[in-house]
């Protein structure tokens, strides 16, 4: 029944939205002020698409029944990931994890490699995992690397992943494991809920809309997201992901290397002793080997076969060269020996040791090493992943938020996911603005990275529903740019009297108001009474964070620049109100207030008309109401539990 009404309202909203935006593009633009008119209509179009994607999400809202009982012999590893969180916080979670009902083993994955943590874990009978020597001088891939490392050491069929602060309920496995009775299910995500957040949630930590209608809607499209913690994964699915990724990556590298082999060899011919016929011969041999490899790759030979053959032919060419070097050397020695002027040794002519050819032809000492371009080429034509600690990386490492990319790849391989709408773990949210902003920035950066590296709209293996569900989340992170326009438009009208719309006629209101009403109704019905205002406020008010996320992620993906990545600290940062963190918002708020004063003055002076002023004053008041949350956030002193507050009175 609810679904029926939700769909009606979705259809209505989309219809009214298209009606409004189409009219805006075709009949309402004030071309004299195109520099604000076009950005504004573009921003509005962005918002309409955002609403349409939200409508699509809730269209298929899935309310699941409890799963069947899981087999008693299903083996589970519980992973608690930590980097530098306080030891007692990690141990609280670990003890709770140990008390989980279904048989399992509990592991602390300590990326901080802390001796005290190891001792505490061992003293309490909890497994302890840290990175081994393989990881020295290799990319660490943060949390994804930490989990991948643990996956190679443990054996459970299923994994429950918990952040260090997420204290699980004993029943967490009993309530969720049964979903895996369906052998295609690879992921079960449960909500993230925070206990250190007051009712008014000043930092917008709880995400009731996301861990509710949005995840339930995505679930309806078989696109429930993996959110990094409070989730169960099927090991087999992750391993398949790792293997598929490894094969793909290797093939890509070998293909690229073979394709580039001609130019690499050309370069080598220029740098090497071109006159030396032996060197020229060796390079010819290498070229013949790589040409053959390329032909075999196109003919569909296996990678291991190709790389092995190319390797052997190259080794043979190198060996020939070394042998030639040695025979020339031997000839020199004999000539020296025949000279009367000096004798080289007591026991006749010295002879180059027999096994020296072998050793001097080996990878490390080969004369080929002198030709860097060829050396790099041959390194790439191999099936070992030389630049990674472990060749198989089950959890995606293309983004700082490994979870989204991993889930997307699982979905593309045809695995199913489940969103289980029941709070089964209780965590700690950031308690200060700075930490919260760092966390939001990281999520946004990670999402944009995935969008730029593996655009969901073109991923093979995903259904269109799944593609749009991933795209929807990415799209919503682009809102920072539109927020700037939404702040600028009313300021421009109130201060300069320039209206981006050709007129605020009944035509405008008759299209705009019904759309806005339907829009609000949609959020009310889809959210069935959930408080969504805090989320709406932050999605607009944090516009500098969203913009920064987009620009830094784009620079990172396209130009290889670092993100300036930081792990979210779990302990509260000390210090007073943090105004400096929200300087752009303070500036915008000041401009909005100034615009209000100027706008009213202009109206009084008869310079602008009442309806335009009224609409824009209303708009400014809305913008200020949205941003007012930052006032509360910047002065928030952290969570005080109810009892403690009572004591203080």
């Amino acid at each position: 029944m609810t679904q029926f009404w939700t769909r009606i309202i979705v259809a209505l909203t989309v219809l009214l939205g298209v009606n409004y935006i189409a009219w805006r593009w075709m009949a309402s633009l004030n071309w004299d002020a195109w520099w604000i008119a076009v950005p504004l209509v573009a921003a509005e179009t962005y918002s309409l698409i955002d609403v349409m994607l939200f409508g699509l999400t809730v269209w298929n809202l899935k309310l699941r029944k409890p799963p069947p009982r899981a087999p008693d012999d299903a083996t589970v590893d519980v992973f608690i990931t930590t980097y530098d969180e306080p030891l007692d916080l990690v141990m609280t979670t670990a003890q709770a994890a140990k008390n989980i009902g279904h048989p399992h083993s509990t592991w602390i994955l300590d990326d901080g490699d802390r001796a005290e943590m190891r001792q505490l874990a061992e003293a309490n009978g909890i497994g302890y995992v840290t990175r081994g020597e393989d990881w020295a001088n290799m990319p660490r891939h943060a949390k994804a690397g930490n989990l991948n490392n643990a996956l190679m050491i443990t054996q459970g069929e299923f994994l429950l992943i918990l952040d260090a602060d997420q204290v699980p309920e004993p029943k967490i496995l009993e309530r969720t494991l049964g979903y895996f009775n369906n052998s295609r299910v690879a992921l079960v995500q449960t909500p993230q809920y925070f206990i250190n957040v007051p009712d008014d949630d000043p930092l917008g930590s709880q995400a009731p809309l996301f861990y509710g209608p949005i995840q339930q809607g995505k679930d309806g499209w078989n696109a429930a997201f993996f959110c990094g913690s409070n989730a169960l994964l099927r090991r087999e699915a992750l391993m398949q992901l790792g293997l598929v990724g490894y094969v793909k990556e290797t093939e890509r590298n070998v293909r690229r290397a073979l394709a580039a082999s001609r130019s690499a060899l050309k370069k080598a011919r220029r740098s090497a002793d071109a006159g030396n016929p032996l060197v020229a011969q060796m390079l010819d041999d290498v070229e013949a080997a790589t040409d053959e490899g390329r032909r075999q790759l196109d003919a569909g030979f296996s990678l291991s076969e190709i790389t092995y053959r190319v390797g052997r032919q190259v080794d043979q060419a190198v060996r020939t060269l070394v042998e030639a070097d040695f025979s020339a050397l031997q000839a020199d020695l004999e000539e020296i020996a025949t000279m009367e002027l000096a004798s080289v040794g007591e026991a006749g002519v010295p002879v180059v040791a027999g096994d020296a050819v072998e050793r001097m032809s080996g990878r490390a000492w080969s004369p080929l090493g002198a030709l860097e371009s060829v050396h790099a080429l041959l390194d790439a034509i191999s099936v070992e992943r030389n630049k990674e600690a472990q060749p198989v990386m089950p959890l995606a490492t293309i983004s700082v938020t490994e979870d989204m990319a991993t889930a997307m790849r699982l979905h593309a391989l045809g695995w199913q996911s489940v969103y289980h709408h029941e709070i089964l773990a209780y965590g700690l949210a950031p308690e200060d603005l700075k930490t919260m902003l760092t966390q939001r920035l990281r999520w946004a950066q990670g999402t944009i990275q995935v969008m730029l590296r593996e655009n969901p709209l073109v991923q093979r293996g995903l259904s269109w529903g799944q593609r749009l569900m991933y795209f929807s989340t990415m799209w919503s992170y682009l809102s920072g740019f539109t927020a700037v326009v939404y702040f600028a438009a009313p300021i421009i009208y109130l201060v300069l009297g320039i209206l981006p719309v050709s007129s605020l006629s009944p035509d405008f209101f008759s299209r705009f108001i019904p759309f806005m009403v339907a829009n609000q109704l949609l959020f009310q019905v889809a959210g069935h009474g959930i408080k969504t205002w805090r989320g709406q406020q932050y999605s607009l008010a944090l516009f500098p964070t969203w913009i920064k996320a987009c620009t830094t992620a784009a620079r990172n993906v396209w130009f290889g620049r670092p993100l300036g990545f930081a792990v979210t600290p779990k302990a509260r940062q000390s210090g007073g109100p943090s105004w400096s963190l929200i300087q752009p918002q303070i500036t915008v708020a000041a401009l909005l207030v100034l615009a209000l004063v100027v706008g009213v003055a202009r109206l009084a002076a008869g310079l602008s008309e009442p309806i335009g002023t009224l609409v824009n004053v209303g708009w400014v008041v809305f913008d200020l109401a949205v941003m007012s949350i930052l006032l509360r956030a910047a002065t928030y002193r952290g969570f005080v539990p109810e009892e403690r507050k009572a004591d203080a009175v």
Binding site: F326, D332, M339, L341, V352, A356, M360, W365, A370
Partner: protein, 110 residues
């Protein structure tokens, strides 16, 4: 790898920093040939800054030894580093080319 040489009282010292390999070996032959042609047949190749040598590099050293001997002199090496030392031992060439701690010490005895 670039080579340079310096004429001392009783010998010429040839120096090069980097890797004595297939690419740089011909240059060493040229430099030593030039030194020997200039009349200095007692040559020390100072290897203190040579971090790596392959079979071509070793061939060049022996070739240079031959050139020096043919001119009536000798070629000695000094300041041998770890990898080069291993190559010399592995190939038995440490019996042909004795290494001295310093360039001065190489012709110190005669």
């Amino acid at each position: 790898m670039q080579f340079s040489y310096e004429l001392k009282d009783s010998y010429a010292e040839v120096k090069g920093a980097g890797r004595l390999n297939m690419v740089s070996a011909p240059k060493l032959r040229e430099v030593v040939a030039e030194v020997v042609a200039g009349g200095a047949s007692r040559v020390v190749v100072n290897l203190e800054d040579t971090v790596f040598m392959d079979s071509s590099g070793l061939g060049a050293l022996i070739g240079c030894l031959k050139a020096a001997r043919q001119a009536g002199g000798d070629l000695r090496i000094s300041g041998v580093q770890a990898q080069v030392k291993m190559v010399l031992e592995l190939t038995n060439m440490d019996r042909v080319l004795t290494s001295y701690p310093t360039a001065e010490a190489a012709f110190g005895d005669d």
